[in-house]
Each structure stands twice: as structure tokens, then as C-alpha cells.
Amino acid sequence: MKSFRVSVHIVPRKGLLDPQGKAVADALHTLGFQAVGDVHVGRHLRIDTTATDAAAAEASVREMCARLLANPVTEDFEIAGVTAT
């Protein structure tokens, strides 16, 4: 088994009202960042795990997302990176 660090982004599902993201976007506009469009606030998780290879580590984290880390009704997730550690 090898060691991997897997990074996951979990964000509100597209199309759902994201009041937190909107509040942040409004604040950025107030600061003068007029170029800012939509902002979405999510979570970033860094998971240290062991697996036979990178693909297996990613598959395992995908299952973690489906079962616990992301709510299938309201959130989407994407694997942001898998690195050997």
C-alpha cells in the first residue's frame, strides 16, 4: 500500500440558491472588485489515506463523498488532486 493525499472540493449544487456565496460576492463588489461575478462558498477537504495506487485512492474518496462528505441533494464534489505522500 502507498500513501496518498486526496483533495476534494465540495460546492453547493449549481442552480440552488447560495446566499452565503451571494453575500461574499456583494462584499467583494463593495470593496471595488466589480469584475467579480458569481461566488460559491464550499468546503475543501484534504484526506490522507493509503491505497494500492492513485486511482484506487481517488475511487475510495469518491465513495466517501457519496456516503458522507457531500449531501447528494444539495452539493456537488470534485476531486481536486491526488498526490503521493
Binding site: P19, Q20, R43, L68, L69, N71, V73
Partner: protein, 230 residues
């Protein structure tokens, strides 16, 4: 009829739920620690309000994996009555006992205030003594109460009459203004298909005595008593 009230680390309305069962209904009640595997012969299960596991990850997300939840799900599967109040509603949704999810309030603020809800369905264990269209005033106290489902599920929830309560104004209308947390279709509470499991954001256990502003919550507990005894 014995009430079992589940205590998770961070639950803070469990004693109010015990009070509802014992003082208001005169029924025995037992607190069930979340690590237990034993419902101790409870006929009715209450998942109380609070901040189980500090709302870490998402409200209710971790609590659903507590050992006792397996027994609660089996109890629900057998047709046993279960109510999820506030955080308990979030837990019931996370556990798949009820459809949907509860998201951050549209206005971002934690809301602690009385609201009026309308009874949409009386065929549940928890609303059998209500009449359809009945208005109930109860407090809410939540930051994440915006009921959300995907479009296909919403169609099923509305089509099959799974909506039990809606936020309404003084005239009983589900207006945008009355929809304090921005829930889809003003939904304040839903049921499962069988009607034995109900979840809602408002707190019936905090509305048991006119001294506290409202006694409208009593009818939910009286309903479950009447349904189980029937």
C-alpha cells in the same frame, strides 16, 4: 405509551421533549444515548433539536451514523412513530428517513422567532388530531432550515402530499413574506409515505403552554398518543 428521546452530543432540546411526554401527556419517557443500540422498549421516538456534533460537516450529517440511528431506522421501517424536530429534522433527512435537505437560511441569519404554520396533511401519526388548514403558532430557532429538494423529488413530495406543514401569514396564505427561511414552496415539515415519520423545523415541544406564548404544539403529541392507542 413510552417515549424515547435520543440524546446526541450537542442536543439541547431533549429535556424539553421529555417534558412534553411526561408533563404534558403524562406518559413515561426515557432518554436514549446516541451510542446505545437499545430503544428500551420505546413506542415513539423523538429526534430532538440542538447542534448534534457541533453541526460539523453539515447539520445532522454525523449524527445519522450514531449507533442508535440504526435502531431508529428499523423502528421507522416497522411503522413506529418518529418525529424529527429542527436538528432532528435535519438528521432524519440526512438519514434518508425523509426526503430533502435543510440548507442555510436564505437571509443567512439565525432565526429565533414565532412562526405560523398550516397543517397540510392530517393522515400522519403526528397530525391525526389536527384539521386540514389548521394554523399553529410555534417558535423556530435555526440557521439552516431552508427546505430543499431536487425538482423531480419536489414533484413527488407535492404530488403525493408529503408536505405536512407550510409557513403561512396571518391569513393562512403561504406568502413569500411568511417564508422566513426561504424554503421551497414554504415547506416547514414533511412526512414519509407511510406517515409515521414526520420532520419539521418549528419546535412543538416549546409551544406547550400559553405561558410560553403558545400551546399549539400540544396537538402533535396528542395526535401521536391517539394514533398509537387507536
Amino acid at each position: 405509551m413510552k417515549f424515547g428521546i435520543v440524546s446526541f452530543p450537542g442536543s439541547n432540546c431533549d429535556d424539553d421533549a421529555v417534558f412534553a411526554a411526561t408533563e404534558t401527556l403524562g406518559q413515561p419517557a426515557v432518554k436514549l444515548w446516541h451510542k446505545s443500540h437499545d430503544l428500551q422498549g420505546s413506542d415513539v421516538i423523538i429526534l430532538p433539536g440542538g447542534f448534534s456534533y457541533g453541526d460539523y460537516l453539515r447539520a445532522g450529517a454525523i449524527a445519522r451514523f450514531s449507533p442508535i440511528m440504526r435502531e431508529v431506522a428499523a423502528h421507522a421501517e416497522r411503522g413506529g412513530p418518529v418525529i424529527g424536530i429542527c436538528n432532528g429534522f435535519q438528521i432524519a433527512c440526512e438519514a434518508g428517513l425523509l426526503p430533502g435537505a435543510l440548507m442555510r437560511n436564505a437571509g443567512l441569519q439565525f432565526l429565533s422567532m414565532p412562526v405560523t404554520i398550516r397543517v397540510e396533511h392530517t393522515g400522519t401519526h403526528w397530525t391525526s388530531q389536527c384539521h386540514e388548514g389548521q394554523r399553529l403558532t410555534m417558535p423556530i430557532a435555526h440557521g439552516e432550515g431552508r427546505y430543499t429538494v431536487d425538482a423531480a423529488t419536489l414533484e413527488r413530495v407535492e404530488g403525493e402530499g408529503l408536505v405536512v406543514f407550510r409557513y403561512v401569514d396571518a391569513n393562512g396564505e403561504p406568502t413569500e413574506e411568511a417564508n422566513v427561511n426561504g424554503s421551497l414552496d414554504n415547506i416547514a415539515g414533511v412526512r414519509n409515505a407511510a406517515g409515521n415519520v414526520v420532520g419539521l423545523m418549528p419546535h412543538p415541544e416549546r409551544a406547550l403552554d400559553p405561558l410560553l406564548g403558545s400551546a399549539d404544539g400540544r396537538v402533535l403529541f396528542e395526535s401521536v398518543l391517539a394514533t398509537v392507542h387507536a
